[in-house]
Symmetry: C2
């Protein structure tokens, strides 16, 4: 992440994806870039922020116009394959939280 996402005035939606990576890259870096690029082309995509510590714990937050936009992205065929490989190879554990953003303020 190099920048804070420029999101519109609330309400909109956020997907908080917190994960613990397994060791080694095993194609993860390439997949992560591809998924970020593909997500940004989906209808209703508003932005994404991501940070990962050296110990493998990371947080990615993507922002969306609606719950329908989130559902469509979750069910996207290419994203589905990445999700499967995520459970098989890349992630030791993860939690996904679907949220409605009610207020936002910046400095």
């Amino acid at each position: 992440m190099s920048q804070i996402a420029k999101t519109p005035a609330p309400p909109y939606y956020a997907v908080i994806f917190t994960s613990i990576r397994t060791e080694g890259d095993q194609g993860y870096g390439q997949m992560a870039e591809q998924m970020a690029a593909l997500a940004s082309q989906q209808p209703g995509f508003l932005g994404v922020e991501s940070a990962r510590e050296g110990d493998g714990a990371g947080i990615t937050v993507s922002y969306w116009e609606s719950l329908d936009a989130i559902k469509s992205w979750r069910e996207h065929s290419v994203h589905q394959i990445a999700q499967e490989k995520g459970r098989e190879i890349w992630y030791g554990s993860y939690t996904t939280r679907i949220c409605k953003v009610e207020r936002e303020y910046s400095f």
Copy 2:
């Protein structure tokens, strides 16, 4: 962050704090530890997750039982001092988003 926060069944609330750090520590590390410890003692606190990249971009998500719990923590006198120093010294920019967590699933 070493672990994913163990939160209860939704609904509950999340504060997504995305920030870009200024250069150098300048007391930031100590303050961050103190604030994490103090936050965890507040009524309605459910958990916290945090990750920062080497380039200074970071995401901290704290989880709370209610909007009132979030408001009380934001207005806590010691936290207020940290927020002021954050704007003066530690952060180049940040965005805070207050969210209602509607769904959660884990692997």
